[in-house]
Symmetry: C2
Subunit: 497 residues, 2 copies
């Protein structure tokens, strides 16, 4: 298949592909820049089957690399810029990329510290994005760049966020991202002239997949270097944004800046992922007219798995959504047998978006992918109409006195209290019960319900074993770059006291 960006550039050369910092690049320009960059990568020794790592924030070099690397027959390894040097060194040593392209400043220092020894020597050193433009491109004749993409080739290796367990590199095929983009377009529609605001990190699949969708559907990406509520508010109000991808904490900060104005009429979809979102937040946004489309996605499935159908926007806030066309879901017990509707169990996913496996981890791959089904480790239910509810990450399941407690359920109750802005519930080691339930909350404004008041509030709404035994107050919850709460960090914090 023709590389997607080049196919779109052939179809619509002069249409806008990417806008950042007020500068717009057409599809033809972006495709030409990507091909020139691919020649530079060849000159740096990037070969078929190589990995090209990035330690880059959102920006033009990242976007160009996404499209250039496949032209070399190589795959992208986008590293999380928030990792410590030690974490980076682990991933580089695990993946062994041929080249590491990094930004300047602090990231340059982190890259140099991390890459020592584990990145195959190319050119001379790991390569700064700013210096890439100075590399003399390889001769186009001898560079032997690809004119077609094999859909079964690896497109990107993404280390899963690692809130649980050691990071593993999910190998996504070109077909994974292609089918994800097609499934998304068939689910959400693809309106001509669409603009998709990307303020999620591109090194996560939620951001990366926006670029694939742009090339495939012809939508324009409005790229922000990071999430800044004022900048996003301005873009929504003034730049004809039709879709935006957010996680819950971003939506909350955005609404605080947005105020009580009605949502912009051009905005037709706020794709809300990155973990379960509090219902009061969704309802607050819907009330202003923000079309909140919840989604459950996984790196291993190239982003969206189940997404709220558009015709349910504003009507259903109790479920996540339904599977994209081509994707299948089932809920299974520990033997892998399907469970009846409304019975909690592990969420299993099958379909063309699934990863090939975890890079060089045959055992972990075999545990995750069985008979074509991805065992997500997440817990949820399907109702009789096929709507998915996500109850929790299995690894976060709290086992207390022989009972299962799903943190999300307790958190939803706490968030319904008017004095609670954010809440996270974890299990702490307990000599009697195995684990006991602990709640971490961010109070809203200056109001502050007492422990006794919060306990009363929960007791009216939850079975006794689900009620937090302790309440801890924080100024903010620790989160990773994609906005997921780091429950393990919370647990460690409480236990160190």
């Amino acid at each position: 298949m023709k590389p997607w960006l080049e196919a779109r550039a052939a179809l619509a050369p002069h249409q806008p592909a990417l806008t950042l910092n007020g500068i717009t690049f057409t599809f033809a320009t972006l495709a030409a820049r990507a091909r020139m960059l691919a020649l530079r990568l060849r000159a740096l020794g990037v070969r078929e089957g190589d990995l090209v790592a990035t330690l880059l924030p959102n920006g033009l070099p990242f976007v160009e690399l996404v499209h250039a690397v496949p032209l070399c027959g190589a795959a992208l390894l986008p590293l999380n810029v928030r990792l410590t040097s030690r974490e980076l060194a682990f991933q580089l040593d695990d993946a062994k990329p041929a080249l590491l392209v990094h930004a300047g400043g602090e990231l340059a220092a982190a890259a140099r510290a991390a890459a020592n020894g584990s990145v195959r020597r190319v050119a001379a050193e790991p390569c700064d994005a700013a210096l890439l433009a100075e590399i003399v491109p390889a001769n186009p004749e001898s560079a032997n760049l690809r004119d077609a993409i094999d859909l079964e080739d690896t497109c990107a290796v993404l280390y899963t966020s690692g809130t649980t367990g050691a990071p593993k590199g999910a190998e996504l095929r070109h077909a994974s991202l292609l089918w994800s983009a097609i499934g998304s377009a068939l689910h959400l529609g693809a309106v001509p002239g669409e603009r998709w605001l990307a303020c999620l990190p591109l090194f996560h699949v939620g951001g990366l997949s926006i670029l694939t969708r742009s090339a495939l559907t012809g939508s324009e990406v409005i790229l922000h270097q990071h999430f800044a509520p004022d900048a996003v508010t301005h873009a929504l109000a003034h730049e004809r944004v039709s879709l935006v991808s957010l996680v819950a904490v971003m939506l909350e900060r955005l609404l605080d800046v947005w105020g009580e104005r009605p949502a912009p009429p051009t905005l037709r979809c706020v794709l809300l992922g990155g973990g379960p979102a509090p219902r009061p937040l969704i309802e607050r946004a819907n009330a202003l007219g923000f079309p909140i489309v919840t989604t459950y996605g996984l790196t291993e499935a190239a982003s969206q798995v189940a997404t709220l159908p558009l015709h349910e926007v504003g009507r259903r806030t109790d479920i996540v959504g339904k599977p994209l066309l081509g994707t299948e879901l089932r809920i299974a017990d520990e033997s892998g047998a399907s469970l009846p509707p409304n019975t909690p169990g592990e969420i299993l996913v099958r379909g063309p978006t699934l990863m090939r496996g975890y890079l060089r981890r045959p055992d972990e791959t075999a545990r995750a992918l069985r008979d074509g089904w991805l065992h997500t480790g997440d817990v949820g239910t399907l109702d009789a109409d096929g709507f998915l509810r996500v109850l929790d990450r299995r690894a976060d399941l709290i086992l207390s006195g022989g009972e299962n407690v799903y943190p999300a359920e307790v958190e939803a109750i706490l968030l319904a209290h008017p004095d609670v802005a954010e809440a996270a519930v974890v299990g702490l080691a307990d000599p009697s019960f195995g684990q006991r339930v602990a709640a971490f909350i961010v109070p809203r404004g200056s109001a502050a319900a007492t422990d006794a008041e919060l306990e009363r509030f929960c007791r009216a709404r939850l079975a006794g074993y689900k009620i937090p035994r302790t309440f801890h107050r924080l100024a903010e919850l620790p989160r990773n770059a994609s906005g997921k709460v780091l429950r393990r960090a919370l647990g460690e914090r409480a236990e160190l006291r």
Copy 2:
């Protein structure tokens, strides 16, 4: 893969799927009816690998059969209702379907006359659509209907229109129609809440593919039994139609009824296929605001191959368009070597929408499909920007005195004359020149340019060897059901004189 209609019904059960005669069917209703019909087909003896022929006009039974037949693991053979009994008998004998479902009245008589002996006996007789509802469905347990579709299975066998050569059954795979729908959605967009008016015959690929797109993108089909300018005008003006598929002669008749009103604001695409359209007609429609999207398609490629990009609507009327994403085009000489830009040659097509081949015609299949490229027999050019021009059907090429004459080129000149409403140019046998060029025209209104005037008009615009030697006036041009001019019939008519 889950059957498309059932996947859409799971996602959006209560959304409208089909409206005809003022009655709307939701996706859930349509999917349930299709599954019930599949059980009836099983009761009638339809087995895996069978063909189910239809002799039905546009209507609910046709739509249900399109979705029911794959659940039996069978393929659809939609027959053209305008064929004579003799032509029908040829196709039935060639394809040997297990079952023929026909309408009542004249079609019942035609079906009985044609099916005698060549349709495998099932139930008792070829089956009337009205009687199907009375068949007791097979037991769902033992019927063994499919829950998943194998994309490589044959979905439909469509006899190519046969304006040239003997009819051949093009075997389309499910993948052909899937990729056609995806390519169309990525090219034209897929707007939530979309309504596609289908007034083309569903037994041709241009109509059939509207049904596939509906299931895949969730658009609603507004189905008309046939093209009636008043009904189409009413639907466009009052029924929020966003897309409509037409052939040129339909567009002309529609505009005559529509008058000088501006085009309806809800209409975002008039997909104009079925052969080259006269530029003055396109310009007339564009001037009123009708968004004319020209397309070049083939039964063998599951409909659209190259289509005008939306951002070129109203700007380019001199070309057909660009290939859908996933589809490749090249222009070749007789050896199959690619020709430079703007050089006329045979149009070759490659991509996932191509047919498997012609049913039980290995020799003709091998001639048509070589190294994955479909040799269309059509003549065109690609310009440096990748725009396709279609010059003519190769079989219609007129060879006169050693020079090549492309009828479409001469017709375009004739149509530019204010007194000419329709024009068709053919080659007639000539003892001196091999062929001589003859023009058949439908005069506009009561005006009537003389032969001498028309010849002067052409001479000012065409090389001498391209100028028609004779002009014939007709009340209308003979066309097949999909609106293609029957050039052979014209030639025979002239030579019988």
